[in-house]
Symmetry: C2
DNA sequence: GCAAATTTGTTCGTATGTATT
DNA sequence: CAATACATACGAACAAATTTG
């Protein structure tokens, strides 16, 4: 039995998009036009377009039309520690350097600082009792004016008691909290564990990242637990990145310098074109 | 101006799901029932349910009903090299060990082996001319009888010429291709670069992993380029994992043994409950 | 094993609302 | 303000898959 009508129409449009007949940014015919071309009711046409929307191929704009999506240039975050600085990617100074190295423009407003009760994952990862107080430093980051990540770092209150008072400063800690903790408490970074997950965005996240409200684009959520010299966790950093414009890189062992650069070119070659897993 | 009716209905159902009134696995009322309860047409009810479906909260089954989704226990793959064996996660022997370490049951049928022409990413990453021949070894992997990953490793034909003839064997190379290359050509693993991306599944992948056909669940696609002692790439491994049941872990520096174990508990604590990024 | 009932899926038609040009 | 374009909502009929009797 053939596919339902709306699928047939959707697949025809999909082929036009993937073959380049409808290039990124192009406007699809309007619903009444498609109704005439494919001799289907408007509801069926709308169902076909919705199918494309759910797959992230097109995007509809009320009052304007339906357009083939333009993929943003992906940004690469290195998770493994830098062999020179010993810093992991995505945080403070390391973030700004990595953005500039990719020829792009970083911006981060001062963090919001709050005192919260540790619960669930936060308490477990920091090894503090459930309900005890932690400092939460919440940071928004932009690249080329576009929202790029939402990061919250949690520190046990015991660090503040031990002398790291500036953790509770409302402004930025320059050149970075990692650096500050090393100076004040002697903690060396480059001992951490990252966990990388993917999930649907929450409403606030969808708003901040300007994601389509159909739940189509998911977000990466990374959990970084950092340990001090004695192996005790002293920091948990949770970061959310939109999955449609972010990728991660991990280096193991001594990887040639060539392979560390010019990665952006490979990353940008849309996975939609190269299909290394086809049969 | 309030939300449209279908959204109001969807959000009421969403609250029932998230508050536990409708626990995972529960059956939602049928469409005719919802029609009566919310005094909306069947089409509007269906739109509300579709909204929940697009967010991955429920799943409809033709002829049966609509059910609250049950999240599978996530599986963790370690990307950074094992400090003892020097092996990266997700490949050959390392895969089986990691699965058993998490108390689960690995299964992998023998790989399919093909000769292909290198194009795009494959040629670039392996540093071979576009169009030259490569050996592709394609492997399906299961955990607890469920499809878990689809992996293809590419090797330049020059390795076969240099003596690694078994790369073209149809069956498995025990205890693993990495081990074999070290024996025959002296390549040491533990020099590689991983790139982690997320995208919509292709039709074959959705079929193999039994993903819902609405494009809701996306897949991780990881690209691992391995380098020999001279810094020349000798292998590219592309792996696809369903994002709804997989997570990744990266260790940097000497992380305490405690933090390497008991990770599964933290990972399983559904991100749907703990909301570390809320305002 | 078959038929009926139940439940979601597809397709049409129609009317009205809202945002953009 | 008018025309265009997508969004919401209702009603109706039949199809396909599953469960029940």
């Amino acid at each position: 039995m053939p596919d339902p009508l709306y699928r047939q129409i959707a697949e025809k449009l999909q082929r036009m998009i993937e073959s380049g007949v409808l290039p990124p940014g192009a406007k699809l015919p309007t619903e009444p036009e498609l109704t005439r071309v494919y001799k289907a009711s408007r509801n069926t046409i709308r169902q076909a377009v919705r199918w494309l929307t759910n797959r992230g191929l097109v995007q509809t704009r009320l009052g304007q039309g339906t357009y083939v999506v333009q993929r943003a240039r992906p940004f690469l975050t290195t998770l493994s520690a830098d062999p020179d600085t010993g810093l992991g990617g995505g945080e403070g100074e390391a973030y700004r350097e990595e953005v500039r190295a990719q020829g792009r423009d970083p911006f981060a407003p001062p963090p919001r600082v709050e005192i919260r009760q540790a619960t669930g994952v936060i308490a477990e990862e920091l090894g503090v009792p459930d309900g005890s107080s932690v400092v939460a430093r919440r940071q928004q980051r932009y690249i080329d004016e576009a929202a790029f990540s939402l990061q919250t770092s949690y520190y046990p209150m015991s660090l503040v008691d031990a002398g790291a008072e500036r953790l509770m400063d409302a402004g930025s800690i320059e050149p970075g909290a990692v650096h500050y903790l090393r100076e004040v408490l002697g903690f060396r970074q480059a001992r951490y564990r990252d966990r990388i997950t993917v999930r649907a965005p929450r409403a606030e996240e969808a708003g901040f990242f300007k994601l389509p409200d159909n739940g189509r684009v998911s977000v990466f959520e990374t959990f970084r637990t950092a340990y001090d010299g004695a192996g005790k966790p002293f920091r948990l950093t949770v970061t959310v990145f939109p999955a449609d414009r972010n990728q991660f890189v991990v280096f193991a062992g001594e990887v040639p310098a060539d392979a560390r650069k010019a990665l952006t070119a490979v990353a940008a070659s849309a996975t939609g074109n190269a299909r290394p897993n086809d049969a």
